[in-house]
Amino acid sequence: MNVSAQAVTIVMIEDDEGHARLIEKNLKRAGVYNEVLHLASGTAAMDHLFGPHRQGGPPVLVLLDLNLPDMSGIDILARLKADPVLKLAPVIVLTTTDDDREIRRCYDLGCSVYITKPVNYETFAQAVRQLGLFLAVIQVPPTAP
């Protein structure tokens, strides 16, 4: 297991417990043992990412469900990409629709990968792994002052 990949925390913003569980299981099964922080609502995600307890340290990878009950995932994505630090974090959008307009919008806002559920978990895990490595590499300069 790659050491730099270990450093990446996966922040999973997903309201559906089942989906969250499936994602976790498949990540593990694919050999991605990063810490997964599950946030079940948009509000919780905003608190964690932008709230007072916000940690500046470990780099994160965001798994984002667009269809949250309390707010639109698109808004969270926009906030993330507008933040000077968090905009570097890769975002994987996971959603149940394959609407062209929505996909385009997400890519325009700066999401790294857009994956439609039900996911082919092989591909999904592969994407997470690659983005995790990528993240570790680009995170090197700020963590080595």
Partner: protein
Amino acid sequence: MTWTQAAFGRITLGLKMLGFLVLLGLAASFVWMVQETRRYADAVVATQEVRVAAAQLLGSLQDAETGQRGFLLTGDAAYLAPFEESEQALESDLPELGARLAAEGGNPALEATLDGLITAKLAEIRRTIALAQQDELAGAIDVVREGRGKALMDQIRGLLQGIEARALARLQDRSATLERAGGVLLAAALGGCALVALLGLATLTIAMRYTRDLDSAQAALKRANASLEQRVQARTGSLVAANEEIQRFAYIVSHDLRAPLVNVMGFTQELETALVAVREAMDRAEIEAPALVTPALREAVREDIPEAIGFIRSSTNRMDRLIGAILALSREGRRRLVAEPVPLGATLESLAGSLAHQLDARGAELRLQPPFPTLESDRLALEQILGNLLDNALKYLEPTRPGRILVRARREAGMHAIDVVDNGRGIAARDHGRVFELFRRSGPQDQPGEGIGLAHVRALARRMGGDIRLTSRLGEGSVFTLLLPDKLPAADPALQPSPEEQPA
């Protein structure tokens, strides 16, 4: 007052008839007047003739008297000649006067009175002449002196004057009547003219009022139309809103339905994965501790669980496809149609090209029968519709005979009608409506598909301002007729993407 068209027609026709009758009356009066004038002229002539005849008669008598007097004065027989001539002339003069008098309308009895007087006068003259010839001149003069001849002559003259006077009086009478008639006729003519002018004016007024009424009715109609248009627009607006609502509903529902489905599918896969471990454990147990593996366990692991997972999987896959189709349809419904000139012939050629392989494989023939028009429509939508119809035609060919598919275009009710004709397996009459419904299919379910194509085709055709129609006989073939207007209807604003939906 408002005129109905029938009342207007009746009234103006009545006025025209009245005017015509007045003119006819005037014409008749003029004819009568001409006749009257002619009768008057005849009367003038007759009066003149009576007067001439009377003067002639008097002249002849005076000649006779002159002859008598000359002979009595001179005893010269030469003076008897005028008398004899007059006597002869009088024979014709009297009947002449009688005839003229009768013609003129005088008293014919006068002729007899005159005859008596003239005969008496002539007798007196003859008697004096006879006395003179017998040299009894004094006796003859005595006879004259008696004054009987003069009295007779005076009587005759009086009668003749009377005749003349009466004739003149009658003439004057006629003249006065004629003058009166002329006056009346003039007045009538003036009155008639005035009446005709009045009728003309009345007709004109009515026509103008009628025209004004028509104008105001037209204006009212225009206003009604405008308000109708407004109502239609309002109704269309709410329909569009309702349609939009349905589209959103379909989108949200399918979106939300998919979330639990993802779990079902995902955890089914988990079960499948877990089953692998269970099966391995059971396989090992069969070797190491066969007693543990009961037939029930074996059946559950080997048959029941895999079968259950299989059914769950096929059902969820199917449900996933259906939801995907609803999503696609709702997305398609929100796509903005853009009009551009689309040559139907070229579009069909390219579709035929992409089907060539399948056509060959099934030994079917696709014939495009020109001419094909160029439509002002949405290219993608047209391609989707025609592609779908051709796909269906090919898919449902009757395997027992060579497939024949024909596409032709014609005009129908001011629209383009595009027929896709096939000799395939056909559609039973009871399914003609159903095949256009979402998720409904007809006939043996031996072909892949979800029953979405034709629903999509119909929704598209209607959005393009047209429609689709089916005529088919089971076992003989089908004709799908796509009706499209020359031009795509103006896009309604509600169907255009709202700013928030557009890419940033």
